[in-house]
Structure formats: structure tokens, C-alpha cells
């Protein structure tokens, strides 16, 4: 029995299909979701979502962070944006990384929330560059 995976952005439902396994970039390490997974709510970092059918990856998408809800039958990813890996543009990614690094330098380091947000942005941009390369 497969897992039904949904990826939604605030603007639309991006993807809805069933897969044998999906690997999502959870904030504390990648997480493989198979059918019958314990119910969880996790935060995502920027990274790639891999969709498996059998033991082959059939689709890879880049997400820039978000949340995921896992239940034994379903995996729902709430992301701001998800792009197929093939469409990730390296130049774009590098520009984002540069922007994120600039924002980090400019950020107020005394405020941990602001600093965390800036580091998250850098991390997400780095993952994007990697995904493109």
C-alpha cells in the first residue's frame, strides 16, 4: 500500500500522487516516510523531496522550507514553493545565496529569532545551489 503524498503551497495544490516512499528534508535530518509511519508533525528545512516508486526515484522537487504532517496513510507537505529539480536555476540559486548571506551580515545578531531566520535562509539557499549543481 502506497503513501499518498500532497504538496501544497498557499497559492495552489502543487502535487498529489501516491508513492511507495517519500524522503522529506526534516529540520533535524532527512526522513523517509513509508506507509504506516507514526503520526508526526515536522518542520522542514530547505532541501529536496525525493519520491520513490519501488527503489527508484521517480521525481525530485526542491522546497524552501515549510511543514509536513505525516500519518500512517498520508504525507502532507506545506511549502511556500516547490520546484522540480530540473527547473532549479543555478544562477538564481546563487543569487539567493548571496542575498541571504548579505541579509545575515546585516541582521541584528542580538535577536536570536532574527539570527535564526537569517541562518535558515542561508541554509535553504545553499541547499538550492546544491540541488541545481
Amino acid at each position: 500500500m502506497p503513501v499518498s503524498l500532497e504538496i501544497v503551497s498557499p497559492e495552489k495544490l502543487l502535487l498529489s500522487r501516491s508513492v511507495d516512499m517519500v524522503v522529506i528534508p526534516a529540520s533535524e535530518g532527512d526522513m523517509g516516510v513509508l506507509e504506516g509511519h507514526a503520526p508526526m508533525i515536522v518542520m522542514l528545512r530547505g532541501g529536496t523531496i525525493d519520491l520513490y516508486e519501488g527503489d527508484k526515484i521517480v521525481e525530485r522537487l526542491f522546497v524552501d522550507g515549510g511543514f509536513a504532517e505525516v500519518t500512517p496513510e498520508r504525507c502532507t507537505v506545506l511549502a511556500n514553493n516547490a520546484i522540480p529539480i530540473a527547473e532549479v536555476n543555478k544562477a538564481d540559486a546563487e543569487r539567493r545565496l548571496a542575498e541571504a548571506e548579505a541579509a545575515y551580515t546585516a541582521a541584528d545578531k542580538t535577536d536570536t529569532a532574527v539570527e535564526d531566520a537569517a541562518t535558515d535562509a542561508i541554509q535553504s539557499a545553499r541547499a538550492m545551489v546544491e540541488a541545481a549543481g
Binding site: 498557499p10 495552489k12 507514526a38 503520526p39 515536522v42 529569532a113
Partner: protein
């Protein structure tokens, strides 16, 4: 009795007005369809967000460190009213409705001894509120010239409001907007967004007795999820308001087109009567002239 020429000019001018109003109606109809589709597309995310919030809120309920976005500041002194209107007029009572509701709410809160701050979204609402409540307006936003509202706009608003809350500038936030019910009915709605209202009761997920695990812990997730939920709520009301605006304009323009049609009919009748009277008069003059000979 106006002259024939004057009548002709009036008929022509009403006809061109009718052309404009019926064109505006068509445009509003197609924009309405697009706005409705956009609102439709935003629904899945909001639903899943609600489901997650329900699970999270249940698990931090009663915790003393629950974030202010969820439970408020514990005070009820400074109210922020977010009035969402359109940037353009000619939409019937659409903008005035929100303006009036905001004004009444502001007056009521002030008579209870509370401080009111207003954030005006949309140019028409800003102009309306500026006349009477200028001193309470703390900011305004317009999307004039934008083809469509995207999630980024809502997110900016959300961040701004969350920032005001974090800085202790406000205790409660309420959004006043036109909820789209149908093309002819937009209902002015006051919705409290801070402290967050309990997520609507929904089908609880049957987890066969299991409970959610959280990674990282609930509070870290909540701290990230709540601003997002706020942005989603703003996004929803902006979209509802956009759909409502086009609906209101469509019915206002439909009425205007019909009124112009009635007017053209009446004027043409007058014109024809005047023309006939003229002909009769000329005939009488000719006949009586011929008799005299």
C-alpha cells in the same frame, strides 16, 4: 420642451455611458471568475494548516509559555482594526460598508475606554477613514496597479502585524472585510485574528488512538507556524475581498446599465413625440396657408 437637437445629444451621451457601464460589467465578471479561482486554489493549504494548528494548539493548551500570537498579550487595551477595502470605487456600497463598520467598531471600542489603531488596506477605505479617524490610522497599504494579490503581499501584512504585537503596540487585532457570499451579497465581517480564534471544528483525524509526535518540539513549530497561519488568514480575507469587489462592481454596473436603458427609452419617447408635434405643426401651417390663398 427641450429642442430636438438637445434631446438627440442627451440620448447619445446616455448611450455612451451605457456602453461604458456594460463594458465594466463584463470586465468585472471575468475578473470575478479569476478571483474565485484564486480563492479556490488557496483552500487546500488553509485546510491543512487548520488541521495542523488544531493538533498543535491541543498539545500546548494551558502552557504558560504559549506564544502571544495564539493567546494574546493577556491584555485588552489596544485594538488594531484592519480595514480591507478596494482600491477603486464604482462598486456600489462595497467600500462604504467596510468604512462604516470600521468606524462604528472604533467608536464602540473607544467608548469602552480602549485605544484604537487602524491599518487601512486599500485606497478607498483609507480615504474614507481619513475623514473622521485620521489620528487613529497607523498605516496604509494599497495594491493599486497590481494585477493580482499574491501570497507575498499577505505575508508582508502578517509580518507587520506580528511585529506590532511583538513590540507591544497592540493587544488585539481584528480584521474588517467584505466576505464574498454571492455576486449580489457581500457580507461585512469582523474577524478577530489575535489572539488566534480556535481553529474551526473539523473532522478529527482518526489516528487509531495514536498522538502526533513533533519534531522539533511543539513550541518551536508553533513559533514558525503561527505567523504563517496569520499570513494565510490575511491572504484569505484579501482574496475574499477581491472577489467581493468584483461581484459588487458587477451588480452595480448591471444596475447602471439597466437604468441607462430605461433612460434611453424615455428620452427616445420624448424625442419621437417632439418630432411628431413638429411635423403636425408644420402641416397645419401649410394647410392653413393653402386655405388662405
Amino acid at each position: 420642451m427641450p429642442s430636438l437637437k438637445a434631446l438627440r445629444t442627451r440620448i447619445n451621451s446616455v448611450k455612451s455611458t451605457q456602453k461604458i457601464t456594460s463594458a465594466m460589467k463584463m470586465v468585472a465578471a471575468s475578473k470575478l471568475r479569476r478571483a474565485q479561482q484564486q480563492a479556490e486554489a488557496a483552500r487546500p493549504y488553509a485546510e491543512r494548516m487548520d488541521r495542523m494548528l488544531r493538533a498543535l494548539a491541543a498539545s500546548v493548551a494551558g502552557s504558560p509559555t504559549a506564544p502571544p500570537l495564539l493567546v494574546g498579550t493577556g491584555q485588552d487595551k489596544v485594538h488594531l482594526l484592519i480595514a480591507v477595502t478596494a482600491d477603486r470605487g464604482l462598486a456600489g456600497a462595497f467600500n462604504t460598508q467596510v468604512g462604516r463598520a470600521t468606524r462604528n467598531l472604533a467608536r464602540r471600542l473607544e467608548s469602552e475606554g480602549k485605544t484604537v489603531k487602524i491599518l487601512a488596506v486599500g485606497r478607498k477605505g483609507r480615504d474614507y477613514l481619513r475623514r473622521e479617524l485620521a489620528s487613529r490610522i497607523v498605516g496604509d497599504v494599497t495594491y493599486a496597479g497590481k494585477r493580482r494579490i499574491d501570497f507575498g503581499d499577505a505575508q508582508e501584512l502578517g509580518i507587520r502585524i506580528a511585529g506590532m504585537l511583538a513590540a507591544g503596540e497592540i493587544d488585539v487585532a481584528t480584521i474588517v472585510y467584505n466576505r464574498f457570499q454571492s455576486v449580489i451579497a457581500q457580507i461585512v465581517t469582523e474577524q478577530q485574528i489575535i489572539p488566534a480564534p480556535p481553529p474551526p471544528e473539523g473532522e478529527a483525524e482518526d489516528l487509531h488512538g495514536a498522538i502526533y509526535e513533533f519534531e522539533p518540539d511543539e513550541e518551536t513549530i508553533l513559533a514558525k507556524l503561527l505567523p504563517q497561519a496569520l499570513a494565510i488568514q490575511m491572504y484569505r480575507s484579501l482574496l475574499e475581498s477581491a472577489a467581493g469587489e468584483h461581484g459588487a462592481r458587477m451588480s452595480a454596473m448591471d444596475n447602471a446599465t439597466r437604468n441607462a436603458g430605461d433612460m434611453i427609452k424615455r428620452l427616445s419617447q420624448n424625442y419621437n413625440r417632439a418630432r411628431q408635434a413638429n411635423i403636425t405643426k408644420e402641416l397645419i401651417e401649410i394647410i392653413s396657408g393653402a386655405e388662405a390663398v
